[in-house]
Symmetry: C2
């Protein structure tokens, strides 16, 4: 009896110890391995005072691509779905659009025809749905859409489809004094609508593809900004480091991407010198998400593709490739950990 | 003897009380009056939980013009002095410039001729001195210049000529959870070189007139950005709210300016609704600094002027005008308080 009580007490102590270890793991959705280790080592290196790689808190900048890095980008970018969905609302306001291309094709719902729309068609749709209104009106439209729209595979709002392991990285870096930025090829105004609630990243820390606005006054003399179709920043490829300079003004110490569109951002981050973390999410988990890389056959100039050339540059440049299949024990917050 | 000890003890308590009051004053360089009161009231209103004007910490954004609002802008913007000073160094690298206009005029030192340079001449000088080099080279050049250059009146580095009362406002707002931004008509890359050390404002919180950069590689394959003469944002007049939207993405709750170039920023701030603080620094102290407003005769379309029309809009719009002469008991940190 007495020894039984002792054994129970010992077990309780052991479990408490295990629970404490678990509670202290800042990256519980990551399996042990080189990817997780690279993140932990980087944080340790850059935040340990008195060491050669120590980074003063004010300079701790980390940048994250969004589509495919922080949330699902397949089979189609959520912002593209937004634009297509908005065409319906637009056609109600302007019935003439119902018979005008490319709007007619979008409204037909004919997937095959929609898939054949040209880049020029998509630009016309983007201009019609993303510009011409006040900033406030656009924000209200995106907010309403996000509350209603659902991803076709998971039947959940898009903002639920963020990668839990990456959410943990965001929190872990912030807990260690890093300022986290999104640097996305997506629309800056679009992502800013939900970035704070979804990622804890405020609008002023979202860099994206940006168009200009024009200042004016309404009939009561109240000033407002109108969204214009003039491109200021194409935040893909070389546009990413250019956008980082424009909006942030210094090299990131850590950068995360998943496609050829992030290549220059990762190169630029590494070029800052000292301890820098460059990571690429590889979509190799067809079961739990999607698998589309490394792809031999895809061109190196298309965003959203993880090519063999990118993989080779990662290996050569000291970047770390994250295997969704092997490095993550769950993908979404609603998944059961698989380890 | 006993009553004497009591009186001394009483005095000690009184002085301790006064010292504590003084220590608690977040704006010691401000005289009591409506301007100081407006700042204190605004902070109290927007940071008191449970009240109608409470602003969540993440939304606490305050924007500051720089030239004439945070530091001296007369008789000439320091960045213009920089460009003129750089012409000398450029001519050493490229001797052909010595005989080419407008460089020849600048090198002559003939103040009368320099004052007659056209806007086009100034643009040529700005392009030659602010673009064409790597971002890192430009930063090094500005840093070296700032360490050596001195204002002609005070014989001090330009970064010593910041307004102590405004430094206190920056600190007071930050101590109350506000994120402070510079929104300047000056060059974004120029101001970012010293903003952190001079104002405690990191580069990513500096919005200014911005030109583009181009991503490329040096002969060793190392990536770098080259400063290009293509204008992305003219951060004056309507460009200020447009720049705030581009770089910050939400309305400021407080904004500070000093000239017609800040008008739209202050209008836009007030248009956000609720408790918003819009303040204008009026240069009316010829003895301790300069006096140049309100000016009846100046055009409303020139930056750096405080016109009668601006003064009238301030009164009508509920903005607060700061009289340097009456509201500030000292201008610079090296001044003795005058109260």
């Amino acid at each position: 009896m007495k020894s039984g009580r002792c054994a129970l007490a010992l077990l309780a102590v052991l479990f408490a110890g295990l629970a404490a270890t678990h509670a202290q793991d800042p990256l519980p959705s990551w399996n042990d391995g080189p990817a997780k280790q690279a993140i932990v080592d980087f944080v340790h290196q850059t935040t340990t005072a008195g060491t050669i790689d120590f980074v003063p808190p004010a300079e701790r900048i980390a940048t994250f691509d969004q589509d495919g890095t922080l949330w699902v980008e397949h089979p189609v970018y959520s912002q593209v779905v937004y634009c297509f969905d908005r065409v319906g609302a637009l056609a109600k306001e302007k019935p003439a659009l119902k018979t005008a291309e490319p709007f007619k094709t979008v409204l037909s719902g004919d997937r095959e025809a929609i898939a054949k729309l040209t880049a020029k068609d998509l630009e016309v749709i983007a201009t019609a749905t993303l510009t011409g209104m006040s900033v406030e009106q656009f924000q209200a439209e995106v907010k309403a859409w996000l509350a209603a729209a659902k991803d076709s595979r998971w039947k959940k709002p898009y903002t639920d489809l963020t990668y839990q392991p990456m959410q943990e990285v965001l929190q872990y870096l912030r807990a260690n004094g890093y300022k986290t930025f999104i640097v996305t090829g997506g629309g800056q105004d679009f992502v800013r609508v939900y970035s704070e609630q979804t990622y804890g990243i405020p609008p002023e820390q979202v860099v994206g593809t940006a168009t200009s606005t024009t200042y004016g006054y309404d009939k009561d003399g109240k000033p407002f900004l109108t969204k214009e179709p003039k491109l200021l920043l194409d935040d893909n490829f070389a546009g990413k480091p250019e956008g980082i300079h424009l909006m942030i003004g210094r090299h990131p110490f850590a950068a995360f991407g998943n496609s050829t569109g992030d290549r220059q951002m990762l190169e630029y981050t590494k070029a800052g010198g000292g301890a820098r973390l460059a990571m690429l999410v590889l979509h190799d988990d067809a079961k739990r998400e999607y698998a589309y890389g490394p792809a031999e056959s895809l061109p190196d100039t298309k965003v959203g593709t993880f090519t063999q050339a990118l993989y080779d540059e990662a290996k050569k440049g000291g970047w770390t490739v994250i295997s969704m299949k092997n490095d993550w024990n769950r993908i979404f917050s609603f998944d059961q950990p698989s380890r």
